[in-house]
């Protein structure tokens, strides 16, 4: 599964992209976040406050309960500031 990070989530984690194999028992976005938080302090810091983190799966906004498939592209980023 491709996982992407943007803006300050990317700078805190230190890179823009991970390829992750979902372990058994990790079925939704919330599970993926728990898994990522355990990858190191940068991940933990980036994903501390979920109120400031948006999640998209396959280019659509989703909630924390969204179920994941191995072929999904998941992205984490802060609230957008374009325009």
């Amino acid at each position: 599964m491709k996982v992407l990070y943007f803006a300050w989530l990317r700078t805190r984690i230190g890179h823009a992209e991970d390829t992750i194999e979902l372990p058994k028992g990790v079925e939704d976005v919330r599970g993926l976040i728990d898994l990522l938080r355990a990858q190191g302090p940068g991940y933990a810091l980036a994903l501390t406050d979920l109120a400031t983190v948006k999640v998209a799966v396959n280019h659509e906004y989703v909630g924390l309960d969204h179920k994941l498939k191995p072929s999904d592209e998941v992205a984490f980023f802060p609230p957008v500031t374009g325009g």
Partner: protein
């Protein structure tokens, strides 16, 4: 129609192309967003707009489709730039053409309001104190919310 690009655009030429030969258009409303030299009261040197290729286009297309569903538009265009921009540079163009001006005004404002809360762009500002990611504004969320369907008024509501 939507476009995401690094290069600058020419608002006059874009709007002319949008309405060429369309003699059913009575009014065109255009919004151009520019980089300001002030950010929260501090001098801004430049900014870099990062975006999420693929999702950006998908979200902009969805917003543009929604505007065309809500209002009788003859044409609409959204152009958003990414990359490094300096004060005075153009960031975004939204243009809407309609037989009637109210539809063009409402649709243009809807597009920029939604774009600001839905399109995956992030601004990194280079200020006096170094680089800083811009925080989302509550006023932008409020602006977008005004386009959500209003609940029907209760018939017995006091006026």
């Amino acid at each position: 129609m939507i476009r995401v690009q690094r290069e600058d655009f020419d608002p006059g030429a874009e709007v002319a192309a949008l309405t060429r030969g369309r003699h059913d258009v009575g009014g065109v409303v255009t919004f151009v967003g520019l980089v300001r030299d002030l950010a929260e009261g501090k001098a801004l040197g430049a900014m870099t707009l990062e975006h999420y290729p693929g999702m950006t286009e998908k979200q902009l297309r969805a917003i543009d489709d929604e505007a065309n569903r809500r209002w009788p538009l003859a044409a609409s265009l959204v152009i958003h730039r990414y990359g490094r921009l300096e004060p005075g540079d153009r960031i975004v163009l939204v243009a809407t053409a309609s037989p009637h001006r109210d539809a063009a005004f409402d649709a243009c404002r809807f597009l920029i309001d939604w774009l600001k809360t839905q399109a995956p762009f992030w601004k990194l500002e280079e200020g006096e104190a170094g680089a800083k990611w811009v925080e989302a504004k509550a006023s932008d969320d409020a602006a977008a919310l005004r386009w959500q369907a209003k609940p029907a008024k209760k018939p017995d509501a006091a006026e």
